[in-house]
Symmetry: C2
Subunit: 736 residues, 2 copies
């Protein structure tokens, strides 16, 4: 990404490579790096302009702007900022007068803008004007306006659709232009992220910038698993809003699995009636959600996972299964043995009718048929199936699944749909039109592309595993060194974050999706070289708060869950501990405690944020302090030192404050050891900090202290202390 | 309400009058009051039992139990408490095996119980057993069980239906008995409120109590106005859940008004299409909500407000109006001039068809037809209407409205429905079957009863006016001195809290309804003498937190709204100020700032809690301190003194911390004066406290200080400082 100044008061070109956290400018003296110690007048001016662009918080500027995903290109002008006031109005192109989607998007935009600024706009509805680029030159005298210029309604279901847009901001005019209204939708989100405060004029404002933007990948998705835990309509809707905010464009809706069939079928009502606990989406709700998503430029791709993960189908229709049945909904996680019998012709007529019904609900050209984790025991045990395989020359289960997939793909083709499947379906016999979604590894994506299949990457984007945003952010679908030709690279459509729902309820799901998914959204939208992790986190914190506007609960349910744990009593000490706890990452949680679909998701581990922000900020402090220390400056930088000591002192004292609550509320018993551990390692951390600062080589750590550090790594109640590693770093002790 | 001990270790009878905040016991020495200075062994035992009942928090007991509404009768046994563990199971009566409502309620109960305790119950679904009262005597060896005994499915639409229940808790058995499942629903909520922690056994528990309960009034309602600001389905649903928690049983749904027609009509589609901004309830959604409410024992009474408040009807069907039209939806508050033309026969055929359609959606026997605030200008100006009145001997507008109401009442009667209307409809000519809802004053309710009409009280329960819970709590529909015979009193069915929505959005509505409505719910359910305000507030705080379980945002959106105001930066100083702000009460807000339906509801006033809990706690501190002071003990009670000084010192320093944010964010400009005022009055308060403590008569207040106190009473940004009055009290200055 390149940020440059179109014009500057001091007539030099600014080339700023913010992605790597450094700032350069080109002057007569050549390309020079700007450091914070610079103090020339020119530099002051430069810094005076830059923060308005919101790329970095500059000390004292009080600016907290951020864009996420970062646009392709941002440039600054030396115009005054655009000041928002109650006279502000919004103009849509009269050619597009019948584009209701654009009009409604404009109204939502106005309402959010008014909500964030408290401004009572005189014009609450957009006006219409000529669809031509207005002249900035002749504009200065008029009321502050946002003019939208757009040529046509975009087709969000067309993979190659133009999503680009541009923004020009001058002192009293903003022009947002795009070929399609999809571009406009993206541009409006960018404008909301650009909203700033002009500190000199006591006004909300937009900085004078020029933006060109378009996505790197055309498939930017979020999978929500509504089968394992049902997610009500409002949960889906607010997540669609959030997706639009970070420019994601595909909701992949996992609707069936062993634990529940979550969509009403009028053709086969026993699917939802017997295949669920009563929680399923009615067809009217499905239509509403599809329309809600389309309003925001988002496609909805349903997933009907087959032939494995199929128990919920079989409860009502056991005749489709490979075993005699009867079947029951599974309250357990993991992979069920129950699979469809692909040798039965009745299965295909059943699915033909079912899928035909589903196509009336889901207009998207793609249908996901799952295909992952197919257990073959029932196939092996069935004589009919074994005979069928012999008769049809199918030498193993994988070939039988390919046979199944081929038949499904042709059913879908007759319906005008394209099939997607998880990477297990990759097989020489399946048609090239099928799209492969890679979950088991990057390799399967590469392999699919090399074999001529289009693909979507999900491996590395499994947000249910509670890994850091950084991990996902660094997972580029097409890293520079990727072993694919340009043509093969074109087959990689993009990626999808996957929110599997074994361990989330409607109460916690937002906190497992957001804000980390915004980092994945940036990976899929922004140029490859937008990759500075620290800056990503800076912006993620800001965007995370803005996302609350949609009713998301990822921040606000945290305190609420802590309040419930202590029955409404004071949460401060509990919060100090849980602030530095994270759920055990990966698949570890599922292997503990005998979880079922009935288990409570209200304990400390469920409140604990993945990629805990407090722990992350401590990590950066430790990095800085160790850096200072290694260059002999640990005793000179007071700020970092004071902040670290404050953190550690707070933790050192916390167990004393929390122990009463732990004794009082049985549900907190499981975190008692974590609370004790935190206090212990904080004491060790304080000692380590003093040693580094004083460079006193006579201070050593005892074996007891080393054991304490080691003990504190252990998880309790499926949570672990996310600051122990960093405290160990401070001790400079070898980490086993 | 009487609380007594069935048996006690020390064989005396305990009669505790907790409603008045005092505790007595009867012993050989007669009735004695228990004070906190008592320390006999017997007393220790007594106190050891009492807190388990959750009526009061006894120092050091760590108990925070509370019930709201308070049951009719609670008694304590000396049994051990019932300890909850993973073996806990729930048994429903096999006679009621086909009562799906009861089964689903039981499952929700188990899920909430598991959610609050973190327990992984082995039995996630209830079992079935013989429908007979189990013997406590033979139970002791079995697994901990909750047995439900219930004779039949109740009819929530039958006004006289039995809602009573009883609970008996012994060490390993809880029996919840009721005639109808409606009683069981109430009892389950009581059990959740009774859930306690046994501090000696490190276990969640129920105290050994015996409860008999039934409502004082049979109509306990909440009105939600979904017209002025539309409220999405999930908002309605979570409020229904909360209503059930505090045993309210009527959702009065205000669906039409000048600002929007919020229900789909297939008979007259222009009603919702042209009469709304696109936000309306689809008929499928209406059916879902009615079913959702019925599941929780709650009736849904729709309101179609006529003949005034009618603009939204007339946009699509101007021919029904008294003026020629055309009509437009009103974005303004206040009373519109537009009224129906009651002289047109076509109006009645229209309404007949419309109401017939509505009866297919709303099974409740009651339909609310509004009838309030009918402006008569258009009637006066229409020659046809004037002629009609002459022809029909209608001497004034009120008689014309009575003519209208009579015709509507007969249409409804043919549909098998009973009409309800606001008190303006009271007129000698209307049928006695009609129910009068009193909003303008208690008097109209009395009048209605004296004239033989059944009535519902809403005057005094207008929660949109941002008054204190105390105000509503003290508003008894039938105070002891009421001038009504016993028969007339029987006509008073109950009351309804009214949530008019001029100044609430889906984001803020919960905080205007809860927790204050729980106090109204108690007024309508509990015995009249349950009236101790301080104890009500103690319990309200606890119940308020428990209500969050339903996804209500009344607590958690507070911080979220503050975060938005400061764009995600630190909210602590802002919170310190807003904690003691309240929205201007009454109708004042509507007269300021030119509010329309588009105006932002995201400013400080919208975040500020009505009846601010922090201000209320300060008020009680001041009460205590002044009490101590007046008896010359102000210098001896350190706790109260320290707490007051802590509050005042925090406020004194706060403006210094907050001013940067105020300068930075334009939306905070309007509270700048409040922030300055708080600091100023805090300084005065500190001086006053020192004077009282030291009894130093030479300390006086200057005119400047008196002016500052006066200035600080003024509202800014539609908010006022709720602690100024109490600080004035501390100064002992005369209050003008």
């Amino acid at each position: 990404m390149i940020v440059y100044c179109r014009s500057l008061r001091h007539s030099f070109l600014l080339a700023s490579f913010l992605a790597c956290g450094r700032l350069f400018f080109a002057s007569e003296r050549g390309l020079q790096e700007i450091t914070s110690s610079e103090s020339s007048n020119a530099m002051q001016d430069l810094l005076g302009i830059l923060p308005k662009a919101g790329h970095r918080e500059i000390q004292g500027s009080n600016m907290t702007l951020a864009m996420m995903p970062m646009p392709l290109q941002v440039s600054f002008t030396n115009d005054d900022p655009f000041l928002l006031d109650k006279d502000f109005y919004m103009e849509l192109p009269e050619d597009d007068e019948f584009n209701e989607r654009l009009l409604r998007a404009a109204k939502r935009f106005l309402s959010r803008l008014s909500g964030r600024t408290g401004l009572f706009f005189e014009n609450n509805s957009p006006t219409y004007g000529k669809n031509e680029t207005p002249s900035f030159f002749h504009w200065s005298k008029k009321l502050p306006a946002l003019k939208i210029r757009c040529r046509r309604k975009g087709d969000e279901m067309e993979l190659e659709e133009d999503e680009s847009y541009s923004i020009e901001i001058a002192s009293t005019l903003v022009v947002l232009e795009a070929d399609t209204d999809l571009g406009i939708l993206h541009g409006l989100e960018t404008l909301l992220q650009l909203l700033s405060v002009d500190p000199f004029r006591q006004s909300y404002s937009w900085p004078a910038v020029s933006i060109r933007d378009k996505p790197r990948f055309r498939w930017r998705g979020l999978l929500i698993d509504a089968s394992r835990h049902f997610m009500p309509v409002d949960v889906i809707q607010r997540n669609i809003d959030a997706m639009a905010t970070v420019k994601l464009n595909v909701l992949h809706w996992h609707l069936t699995d062993d634990q529940g069939f979550r969509i009403e079928s009028k053709a086969y009502p026993k699917l939802h009636e017997r295949g669920s606990d009563g929680n399923y989406y009615k067809q009217t709700e499905i239509k509403d959600i599809v329309a809600y998503a389309a309003e925001r430029g988002i496609r909805v791709v349903p997933e009907f996972d087959l032939p494995g993960h199929a128990t919920a189908w079989l409860v009502g229709y056991p005749e489709l299964g490979s075993a005699p049945g009867p079947y029951e909904l599974s309250p357990y996680w993991g992979i069920s043995e129950h699979v469809m019998d692909p040798t039965k012709d009745t299965l295909y007529s059943f699915l033909e009718k079912f899928l035909h019904e589903m196509t009336t609900l889901f207009p998207d050209p793609f249908v996901h048929m799952g295909g992952d984790e197919v257990k073959i025991n029932e196939w092996n045990e069935s004589a009919t199936i074994q005979n069928f395989m012999v008769d049809h020359n199918l030498s193993n289960a994988h070939e039988l699944q390919a046979y199944f997939n081929n038949r499904i793909a042709s059913i879908l083709k007759r319906e005008g749909k394209i099939m997607i499947g998880w990477d297990e379906i990759l097989h020489p016999n399946i048609p090239k039109s099928i799209i492969i979604q890679s979950w088991r590894g990057h390799d399967s994506m590469i392999q699919a592309a090399q074999q001529g299949y289009r693909s979507i990457l999900s491996n590395g984007y499994y947000i249910d595993l509670c890994l850091s945003a950084e991990t996902h952010y660094q997972n580029d679908p097409l890293p520079s060194a990727v072993n694919l030709t340009r043509e093969e690279q074109e087959l990689v459509l993009g990626g999808e974050a996957t929110m599997w729902s074994e361990f989330v309820s409607p109460e916690t799901i937002d906190s497992r999706i957001w804000p980390r998914t915004a980092a994945i959204a940036e990976r899929l939208w922004s140029p490859q070289n937008v990759s500075d992790v620290k800056d990503m986190y800076r912006r993620l914190d800001i965007i995370g708060t803005q996302l609350e506007e949609h009713g998301l609960t990822h921040i606000k349910n945290y305190d609420m869950m802590l309040r419930r744990l202590v029955q409404g009593s004071d949460i401060s000490a509990l919060k100090t501990l849980v602030d530095v706890l994270e759920p055990v990452p990966g698949y570890e949680r599922g292997q503990q405690l005998g979880y079922t679909s009935f288990s409570p998701l209200t304990r400390v581990v469920d409140a604990a944020p993945p990629d805990a922000p407090v722990a992350r900020r401590f990590r950066y402090l430790v990095d800085d302090f160790l850096q200072l220390s290694s260059t002999g400056r640990a005793d000179t930088n007071r700020t970092t030192y004071i902040e670290i000591v404050e953190c550690l002192s707070l933790w050192k004292e916390n167990h004393g404050k929390l122990s009463t609550s732990i004794e009082r509320f049985p549900v907190l018993q499981e975190i008692k050891q974590l609370s004790v551990d935190l206090a212990e390692v904080a004491v060790i951390g304080l000692k380590a900090v003093e040693r580094l600062r004083s460079m006193n080589k006579r201070i050593h750590f005892s074996n007891a202290e080393r054991r304490a550090l080691n003990r504190a790594r252990k998880a309790h109640g499926q949570s672990f202390l996310a600051v122990v590693f960093d405290i160990r770093l401070l001790t400079l002790e070898k980490i086993p």
